[in-house]
């Protein structure tokens, strides 16, 4: 078993006058790590909450492993949604919380949970309401990873953690994914640190799907040109420039859109390197006001 697939078709969630999700159609392959990106308020949390059965969609269809997740005992039990701030028994010690999750989570690995507590330096005797924001996020990560649920969502859970803890999380996530492949969705608006983890990506903007694509395909929608400033400027004139970074005589310019063979040839002869575009740059470009 390598996780469950998720299919949404014209999914909409409305709150009174707000369209939190509108016409969302995506497919997440079983066993993949998927990036759900979007600015604050773009609908990421609403989408994950709906898939996890926390709310009912207003319209459209949503299937997890071919079944509507809402109030499905089988499907809801296979999904683990970790939200920032955590859904834990706040006035019980961490060890009691882990015991609770061991009882309710079908694939819980108690030994691994202990290892993770040590990795994040969390005392099992501490209560979640006494933890700092970062420690609470780490507790969420412990629960999310040790649950080993076929579908695991981390909803911006790593944002509260400091840099060393975040990188520990990425390493642990990847190592555990390799050993126990499953469907993992990471949602974030901080992309640069995690973009290498994604196989596929969805970018949400104002509740709508802006991009739903393979990560490599997405990166090929732009390019970064690095080389002597004058040569780079010459090459990119007329192209859609996303960002420019100057490092003395060297300049790095990120452009949106494919590069033709002629431009690539000219770049080679001008000693300008062409690299992949960063997802962060693309994301900023695609979700910025001017693009919309």
């Amino acid at each position: 078993m390598t996780g469950l697939g998720i299919t949404a078709h014209h999914l909409a969630v409305h709150f009174k006058d707000t369209r939190a999700l509108d016409e969302v159609s995506i497919q997440i392959e079983p066993g993949s790590i998927h990036g759900l990106l979007g600015r604050n308020g773009s609908g990421k949390t609403t989408l994950l909450s709906t898939i996890a059965g926390l709310r009912r969609p207003t319209s459209g269809s949503l299937l997890v492993d071919g079944e509507d997740p809402f109030e499905s005992e089988r499907i809801m039990g296979e999904i683990c949604l970790i939200r920032e701030g955590g859904d834990v028994l706040t006035d019980e010690q961490i060890r009691i919380n882990l015991k609770y999750f061991a009882n309710v989570r079908r694939y819980w690995d108690a030994d691994y949970a202990e290892e993770l507590l040590e990795a994040f330096e969390l005392s099992p005797r501490k209560r979640p309401d006494k933890l700092s924001r970062g420690q609470r996020s780490a507790l969420g990560v412990v629960i999310g990873l040790a649950s080993r649920a076929p579908v695991t969502f981390f909803d911006e859970v790593h944002l509260g953690m400091d840099a060393p803890s975040r990188y520990r999380f990425y390493d642990l996530l990847l190592a555990d994914y390799v050993e126990h492949p499953r469907t993992i969705v990471l949602s974030s608006h901080l992309i640069s640190e995690i973009e290498q983890l994604f196989a596929t990506v969805t970018i949400l903007d104002r509740g709508r799907v802006l991009i739903h694509d393979d990560a490599e395909e997405l990166r090929s929608r732009g390019a970064a040109l690095i080389g002597p400033a004058s040569a780079v400027r010459d090459l990119v004139s007329g192209l859609h420039v996303l960002s420019t970074q100057s490092l003395g005589p060297t300049e790095k310019v990120t452009v949106f859109g494919g590069l033709d063979a002629d431009l690539r040839h000219r770049a080679r002869t001008a000693d300008v390197e062409i690299g992949p575009v960063s997802m962060q740059d693309l994301f900023v470009h695609l979700t910025s006001g001017e693009e919309r």
């Binding site: 078993m1 390598t2 996780g3 949390t45 909450s49 996890a52 059965g53 926390l54 709310r55 009912r56 109030e71 499905s72 005992e73 809801m76 039990g77 296979e78 999904i79 683990c80 949604l81 939200r83 920032e84 701030g85 955590g86 859904d87 834990v88 028994l89 706040t90 609770y100 999750f101 009882n103 309710v104 989570r105 079908r106 694939y107 819980w108 690995d109 080993r148 649920a149 076929p150 126990h180 492949p181 499953r182």
Partner: protein
């Protein structure tokens, strides 16, 4: 993927969690009630020159304390339950099972305190007999009446909690009349002077009152089920 462990039905797991949480605090409640009882009789032995039975006054605490716990637990536990991969259906079932088990437990607790008190002071009278739960039926009446009252208290606590979770605070406050109302109805049904039965011209027997109270509890439970079965789980604050 890790091999799944065998689990009992989720509602049973949730019931166990809720019962444990209720019991842990109920022990404190009964300990405090026993201390108050002892303290009052010590006073009656010296300072106040009278001796009456007072354990039955514990009916108020035994009704409203679990009511309060039910409000707290429904607010704190609902998001944890559903985000842990369990359905609202199992949450409803677990909470109602807890009410059906803990209600009689509170009845039994009060029954025990009253029984001990009556054994120690067999000559002492019961004051304000009219206020006693099923006063004319003696200790067994107290057990049954309190079980009904505490069960109703817990179910109404669930209703109040879920109303505050689902609705605007102002609306939930306005709805306190129907959400707390069932407790007041059962208080009246189990009162010795049977005011509701007399007012409606119904028989005043204990059996009738138990039946009517059971109907009230069932209706409150149904309301809790209807409000909770599709409730959206809010975002973390």
């Amino acid at each position: 993927m890790t091999t799944p462990t065998t689990h009992r039905p989720t509602w049973l797991t949730a019931t166990k969690t809720l019962i444990q949480a209720h019991l842990r605090l109920a022990v404190w409640f009964w300990a405090v009630l026993a201390l108050i009882l002892v303290g009052a009789h010590v006073l009656m032995s010296g300072v106040i020159p009278t001796r009456v039975l007072i354990a039955q006054y514990g009916t108020h605490g035994s009704t409203w304390f679990p009511f309060t716990l039910a409000i707290i637990f429904v607010l704190a536990y609902l998001p944890v339950h559903v985000t842990s991969g369990m359905t609202r259906r199992s949450f409803i079932r677990a909470n109602l099972a807890t009410a059906l088990l803990m209600g009689p437990a509170y009845g039994a607790g009060l029954f025990l305190l009253a029984a001990v008190e009556r054994t120690v002071f067999p000559e002492a009278p019961v004051p304000f007999d009219q206020q006693q739960v099923f006063g004319s039926s003696g200790l067994w009446g107290l057990l049954v009446g309190q079980a009904l009252l505490s069960t109703t208290g817990i179910v109404c606590g669930l209703l109040v909690g879920i109303a505050y979770y689902r609705l605007h605070a102002l609306l939930a406050t306005l709805l306190l009349i129907p959400t707390v109302g069932p407790v007041l109805v059962v208080v009246a049904l189990t009162a010795s002077d049977a005011p509701i039965q007399q007012w409606l011209g119904l028989p005043t027997g204990t059996g009738w009152a138990v039946g009517a109270a059971a109907v009230v509890i069932a209706l409150a439970a149904l309301a809790f089920h209807l409000i909770t079965r599709t409730i959206p789980i809010k975002a973390v604050e």
